[in-house]
């Protein structure tokens, strides 16, 4: 077991199922939260890294708060997602969730803050390239005028003054292999004429 998983005290889980009982997303999961923990204990992180469960977790922290054994169950989900995102084992119908998080961090890396319009455009475009779902591409288009009407639509977005330090923070945190893969992905999407 790696150090990040060990730090969650996952070995203390005795399968009471309280995490699953309180989980708002369990209905949709392929493995219940307590099953995810058991598989990790058994050394089978590979199986759960390919699961839908880790992406459907909404990070509400109910499981972590209620665990009688002080297992950081939501923390286990985080570590598994971090591992899965790096190994491209994300199930097809969960790709959109990963794409959203990637687009979010890309926006922060560029501006230091979220540019919502740019984030939505990038998420919609890359999401569409993953599943070619036209309905999801066009959905929310009607939201724009309603947001404009309410002064909630900021086309320009904000940028921090010291964007260079933000880039350096990202470069120090993201492992080199991850960056190389990102660069390739960026080149692919650029040659495909997107964003």
């Amino acid at each position: 077991m790696n150090a990040a998983l060990a730090a969650t005290s996952v070995e203390n889980c005795y399968q009471c199922g309280k995490c699953t009982a309180g989980c708002p997303a369990a209905d949709e999961m392929d493995f219940m939260p307590n099953q995810v923990l058991r598989l990790v204990q058994a050394g089978d992180a590979d199986t759960v890294m390919r699961s839908r469960a880790i992406w459907l977790c909404v990070s509400c922290l109910t499981c972590t708060t209620r665990c009688p054994q002080s297992v950081d169950c939501a923390g286990v989900m985080d570590v598994l997602r971090q591992m899965a995102a790096g190994q491209e084992t994300v199930p097809p119908d969960m790709q959109r969730i990963k794409v959203f998080h990637r687009a979010f961090l890309d926006s922060v890396r560029r501006h230091g803050r979220i540019n919502e319009v740019e984030l939505i455009m990038q998420f919609k475009t890359l999401g569409f390239l993953k599943d070619r779902n036209m309905r999801l591409l066009m959905k929310d288009a009607l939201l724009a005028p309603k947001l404009i009407q309410r002064g909630k639509f900021h086309l320009q977005g904000e940028s921090v003054r010291d964007r260079a330090v933000v880039r350096r923070i990202f470069d120090r945190c993201m492992p080199r292999a991850d960056r190389a893969r990102r660069a390739t992905a960026d080149k692919d999407s650029a040659s495909g004429g997107v964003v």
């Binding site: 708002p24 909404v58 990637r102 961090l105 998420f123 904000e158 921090v160 923070i169 945190c173």
Partner: protein
């Protein structure tokens, strides 16, 4: 006169600008000054802790370092996602010299994790519930609110040490000082779907639908929140939820600061309530009385 450092976070400078308007409008008459943290950056939110642990520590740490550099000892973060991330990093840095050194190098500023972070409710607690009660000009006797805390105001409980994670009462206490009543209900700390608003709408609609349904079933005529994401999911997405489930919730969702502002006599447009998606006048005591005759 109280003064706090202010970390608005991306949402309040984006599609939740009504929340910032509300917070600023209601704090002014209560004598609270806010000084925005210079050149603050995004806390990384769910995306960072989902994809990269070190980034999830470093992005909040950069902001904590800016606060320390500028001598800000108390930093108000109205978004619970931001406040939770900032507090989590504070706790991680405290008592871990190795991490402090490594993170200080990453964010290019020394950071010790000593800044005290306050959420919206804590700011009202600092002002004092008695002082708020004494300042009320228009008691909200027509408000029967379901106080919705969601996830990150109280969780993770060990880290945040704020209110009771299963049965929180801090918002109810403030509301009672405004002359409003709060209903007992079951979904005060259930998740609304949080950051999946864009990425997985069906999850958000299902979870938010349950919250809206339960609030109405317990007699609430509005929901009260202290989080921009909760507000987005329960207010902006309400029309989508209605369509999906063939219902008509028609439930006003207020920020806690909206109700305080209204009780202080501020106009709804000053507080940005007119910018919500569901806008529905609650029955005022005057109209209730008129109906009785």
């Amino acid at each position: 006169m109280l003064e706090f450092g202010y970390y608005p976070g991306c949402a309040l400078h984006g599609s939740s600008s009504d929340y910032e308007q509300s917070v600023q409008a209601c704090l002014k008459p209560l004598g609270v000054g806010l000084k925005e943290l210079d050149d603050w950056i995004c806390c990384g939110a769910t995306a960072a802790h989902t994809l990269n642990h070190m980034l999830a520590v470093s992005l909040p740490a950069r902001n904590l370092a800016l606060a320390e550099r500028d001598g800000v000892t108390e930093l108000f973060a109205p978004c619970p996602m931001c406040s939770m991330e900032l507090i989590k990093v504070n706790r991680a840095l405290d008592g871990n010299a190795g991490l402090r050194q490594r993170v200080s190098e990453i964010v290019e500023l020394p950071v010790t994790g000593k800044t005290q972070i306050l959420n919206l409710i804590q700011v009202f607690q600092r002002i004092g519930v008695d002082k708020i009660r004494a300042t009320v000009k228009k008691p909200l006797s027509h408000v029967k609110a379901a106080c919705y805390y969601g996830c990150l105001l109280t969780r993770p409980a060990d880290t945040l040490q704020f209110d009771d994670p299963e049965h929180p009462r801090s918002m109810e206490t403030v509301l009672e000082a405004l002359g409003a009543s709060a209903v007992e209900w079951n979904y005060a700390t259930e998740c609304c779907g949080a950051g999946l608003t864009m990425a997985r709408e069906e999850t958000v609609c299902e979870l938010s639908h349950r919250i809206l349904t339960n609030a109405a079933a317990h007699g609430a005529n509005c929901l009260v929140v202290a989080c921009p994401m909760c507000h987005t999911n329960l207010d902006m997405k309400q029309a989508d939820i209605d369509r999906r489930y063939g219902v008509h919730h028609d439930m006003m969702v207020y920020y806690l600061s909206d109700l305080i502002g209204m009780a202080l006599g501020l106009d709804e447009t000053q507080l940005g309530v007119d910018k919500h998606f569901v806008v529905k006048p609650l029955e005022s005591p005057a109209t209730q009385a008129a109906e009785m005759h």
